[in-house]
Symmetry: C2
Subunit: 180 residues, 2 copies
Amino acid sequence: MNYCSHCGQPLISRIPEGDNRHRFVCDHCDRIHYQNPRIVAGTIPVWEGRILMCRRAIQPRHGYWTLPAGFMENGETTVEAARRETLEEALAGVRIEGLYTIMHVTHIDQVHMFFRASLLDGEFGAGEESLEVRLFAPDDLPWDEMAFPTVQESLSHFIEDSKKEAFPVRVTDIQRRLGQ
Amino acid sequence: MNYCSHCGQPLISRIPEGDNRHRFVCDHCDRIHYQNPRIVAGTIPVWEGRILMCRRAIQPRHGYWTLPAGFMENGETTVEAARRETLEEALAGVRIEGLYTIMHVTHIDQVHMFFRASLLDGEFGAGEESLEVRLFAPDDLPWDEMAFPTVQESLSHFIEDSKKEAFPVRVTDIQRRLGQ
Ligand SMILES: [Zn+2]
Ligand SMILES: [Zn+2]
């Protein structure tokens, strides 16, 4: 962040009065430009006991398997964001069953939230950001080709919790992995 | 948003290729400036059956009662943000007991998350953003002087759930109120 998005003048990084963190401050129009974490919302879509996953057609992690998910937009709820991403990436309509995982990915300033979901009618397909979309049996999930730690973690909890048919909301922290 | 925060040139609002929403785009350095919802994290701090609340020393809602809460910062988790805000606004150390409410406030592009919490030692006081900080018995909460709908909603669920001693995570939407 170099310039004030309001007036176009150069920004300075300093601790504003009454604050305790460095911020990007504009001394021309007196605005403070805060930076905050972003929410990624997605689903674990289930149809007849199998889980819908997407193979990524985009970077990062091109060719790896993911759950449908993406950045929450202004004006929508996390539920709406999760449903929209599932429609865009997997061309699948879903009913949201409940919030399931909330995972902090602090090294990239993101909060990932996955919802349990059911396909409405078993219809799906590859959206623009997917190479292919497939249903996987729980015993057959592509563990070695998963795109992101939060996808892997959500699914491994989900498989365990499915055995007990109880799905408590899980709040966890994702650590940076070697090489990432 | 008028100017590119990277290169300082004027921004244009249009739908980028492959997107379906208007974004602020810089045709000089080709950056797209996305805008996303922000997370507000806070606690319902309890000590010996009573609930700690803060009377606001700042706008908006100066003089009204709130739970300690504020914008989540880059580099922290929602749990850390909730704990930090409680220390800053109520000078109180807390143990986080669990995530409790997630409320979408779409008309201001915020997601509010409140955690159940216990005071560590009963110590508290007014931080810089608080006029006073007090413990309220559940029957004595200042319902007519609450600062925000999400504070009111979190507390009314909490009082009800306390009777059953069960606190399911609640995901709800907050509607714009008349006059707001
Ligand atoms: Zn400025
Ligand atoms: Zn630019």
